[in-house]
């Protein structure tokens, strides 16, 4: 009995020691700066997530969690620019070189974030936001009046509740999901990724959703005011939304296009102009 209890205690002690060792391999660093209006905030990371949210004042508060001593952070700053770069020591693996960044920045800041892996996320921003990721997903939410630029290789892109700004997304293989995204100009381009749009396209906007081999699914409410042109060069189109017919562009008739791979029409006053284009994917327009 005594020996069993002793064994349990030893096991518990060993577990606690392991947890301590693991935790102590990680290091947390905090950087604080005061910046002026529309300051540039740049984070260049190699591995690991980066999240950005408003600080509510003119402070930049960056918390970085380094997963090992093989990663270091180089920071430079002045009142109009803050730059944080992850530097890796030789032979650092992606796990050793990972740094998790959590940034609180002024809402009007010009944010520029790069990371090869790890989720890139921005929420509640009102300035210009540029997110460049290679394999990790990108998430942007609740952004107004700011421009959003996203580039990924095959990381997925999810945009939710964006308004009054220009949106520009390019991905080679990542899916792009847009929910309640409106703006004066929205350009989405993917290669093999799927594009899904749910929303009403707002008013007076210009939208271009295009991909090469992925599908495009658009779901809009009955009261959406849109002027839609859709064509798939080698794929197909399906329209389940009542549109007032309009004359199709002459480019549909020429060069091998045919009625079965295109449609065009307006709904309500046709306030927003929407172009849906795929090379070989299927384009679907549905009613919400």
């Amino acid at each position: 009995m005594k020996s069993r209890r002793g064994g349990l205690r030893l096991t518990l002690l060993a577990l606690i020691s392991c947890a301590f060792v693991t935790a102590s391999a990680q290091t947390k660093k905090e950087f604080r700066y005061t910046v002026g209006p529309k300051a540039s905030i740049i984070v260049v990371n190699r591995f690991g997530p980066v999240s950005v949210r408003p600080s509510g004042n003119n402070q930049v508060i960056a918390t970085a969690t380094l997963h090992s001593a093989k990663a270091q952070i180089e920071d430079t700053h002045n009142p109009s620019r803050v730059e944080l770069r992850t530097q890796l020591l030789q032979n650092a693996t992606p796990q050793e070189g990972a740094v998790d960044y959590d940034l609180q920045v002024p809402a009007d800041a010009l944010v520029n974030v790069h990371s090869a892996t790890g989720t890139l996320s921005a929420r509640g921003m009102q300035g210009e936001v540029t997110l460049v990721g290679e394999a990790g997903p990108v998430i942007v939410k609740d952004t107004s009046n700011g421009h959003v630029h996203v580039k990924t290789l095959n990381g997925s892109v999810t945009l939710t509740n964006l308004s009054n700004g220009n949106v520009d997304v390019t991905s080679i293989g990542g899916d792009v999901n847009l929910n309640a995204v409106t703006g004066p100009s929205v350009n989405i381009s993917t290669g093999s990724g799927k594009i899904v749009y749910v929303g009403d396209f707002g008013a007076n906007g210009t939208y271009s959703l295009s991909n090469h081999s992925g599908d495009i699914d658009v779901t809009i409410p009955q009261n959406a005011s849109v002027d839609i042109t859709a064509r798939s060069v080698l794929g197909s189109v399906q329209n389940d939304f009542p549109l007032a017919q309009k004359a199709q562009p002459s480019s549909f008739a020429g060069g091998g296009g045919n009625q079965g791979r295109s449609f065009a029409g307006t709904s309500n006053s046709g306030s927003s102009s929407i172009q849906l284009r795929s090379f070989s994917g299927k384009i679907r327009l549905k009613k919400q």
Partner: protein
Amino acid sequence: MTCAEFQKALPYIIETGGNAEQEEHLRTCTKCSDLVADLKYIAECAKLLVPMMDPSPRVWDEINKSLEQEGLVRKATPRGRLLEPTTASRWGPRRLVPVAAVVLAALALFVYRNQTGEKHVASNQAPEPAAVASSAVSVHGMSDADDQQVLQQVSAQSPSMRDAYESNLKQVNSDIADAQKSLDQNPDDADAEQSLRDAYEQKTMLYDMATSRSLP
């Protein structure tokens, strides 16, 4: 004077020469003096790529004609499309010169970052700046050799990302081939042409992400 302040004024220093404080920094800071040496080397190489004098209009016309024959640009004709402005001259040769200058500047920054920031990069394996510049500049003529060079750079800089770049490169090359084939069969298909342009733009983005890592 800090390195950041020196580098901020670098374009003016190279063009007009620096003041006493900047020259002193250059004398004492090996990091910045290496950077200036690299930029001067790249500028010298760039002279070999870009002619000092504009070629005659006949040369541009011949280049434009070749691009039209390949189906990569179209003659500017009225279009029935609703949204897209004519982009027939988008890939015109006159745009390659400023594109080359921008790519070379990004390349200079990439070379500098590799030398100072990432100690694990095997600098003796990095390709010659002029060679990389030529592969990054040749927007249309991206060859298999260019692709391999880009992949080698990714392998040297970030071996764990090589597979992702390779698979995406294959995907975008396949998209280019698809669109080109369709355009060859239907030269008047504006959407096929746009698909081809989009695929080339995605490949350019991939090159940019691989070589300069899109560094701000």
